[in-house]
Symmetry: C2
Subunit: 184 residues, 2 copies
């Protein structure tokens, strides 16, 4: 079941460096792309940093709408994650092409991806200099949700290993998120 | 054995979102802190983005020297990684306190940490606005090395699972990097 994540815990969805899928929408168009270059930038209010290349269709939509969502896929969506990272949304509707279901976000216009494990809805902060020079977008997280079978009470659960998040190295080579452990 | 990593492959050391340890040195002082909020920013020349809080001793040293290193620890260094993230280098020499060995970097003045799996030597790019506002440092990677038992020919090896890299969630809760897999 999807459950709200209190905003001060939102950074924990991203802290361990999983692959994200960036969804966006503007003027009746929508798109999804993969992004490994995403990280938390602040705790509360939560902020994130993500690289969105200037040549992508997603970039056009994010610049037009000033919003995007980071969807966190699990292992079963690794194939789709890689494929949406390899084609441009200018060529095809990637949602239809890969059978990706969507549902409405709470606070933004971009769609959220069904079958993912967590979702962060983000509003772009006005930092045109780093956007233009480094393709780097800074954004505030305005709503967050997670599947309560994998993330609950502010923690990724140990049984995450039934459907781990994933980490991309390069060229379709991934690691699954592995064994949990704690340090005092 | 430590081996040079060609700069266009340097981003792959960081792409899967592992914990990093930031080492720094200036004016005869040195420090080490943990940072999970670090990610690649560009391929070639490789760049990185990392959050270094304004209240840290590391911040002082990085601002003074304009350089830092990202050291990537394995599972056996998880305890030390968490402890150096919990104390300030203003209070104690964290290298001595935690028995951390160092060796000289190739291109920068900051020490590199023995026992880690990979090392990225970084020179800070001059972006005072995002530094001041978000504690966000953008830097160019000027030299990179990795232990060739875990990273070779531009790839983290499958036998990384003998000594996985680690991913921090929050409050001393970690995941080890898990099973590798590939997607066509």
């Amino acid at each position: 079941m999807r459950a709200d994540v209190p905003l001060p815990h939102a950074y924990r969805l991203l802290n361990h460096g999983p692959v994200t899928l960036v969804t966006s929408a503007a003027a009746g168009l929508r798109n999804v792309m993969a992004a490994s270059w995403a990280m938390p930038l602040d705790f509360d209010p939560p902020k994130v940093a993500v690289v969105i290349d200037r040549n992508t269709f997603t970039r056009q939509l994010v610049e037009a709408a000033g919003e995007f969502a980071l969807n966190i896929p699990g292992r079963t969506m690794a194939d789709a994650s890689y494929r949406v990272g390899s084609r441009s949304g200018r060529e095809l509707d990637k949602f239809a092409a890969h059978g990706l279901q969507t549902f409405d976000a709470v606070k933004i216009g971009a769609p959220l991806l069904g079958g993912c494990l967590a979702w962060l809805e983000c509003r772009v902060l006005d930092e045109p200099a780093v956007q233009g020079k480094y393709d780097l977008f800074l954004a505030e997280v305005v709503s967050a949700q997670a599947d309560d079978q994998v993330f609950k009470d502010g923690r990724w659960l140990a049984r995450l290993d039934r459907e781990p998040t994933i980490h991309h190295v390069a060229g379709g080579h991934f690691f699954a998120t592995g064994e949990p452990f704690a340090v005092e």
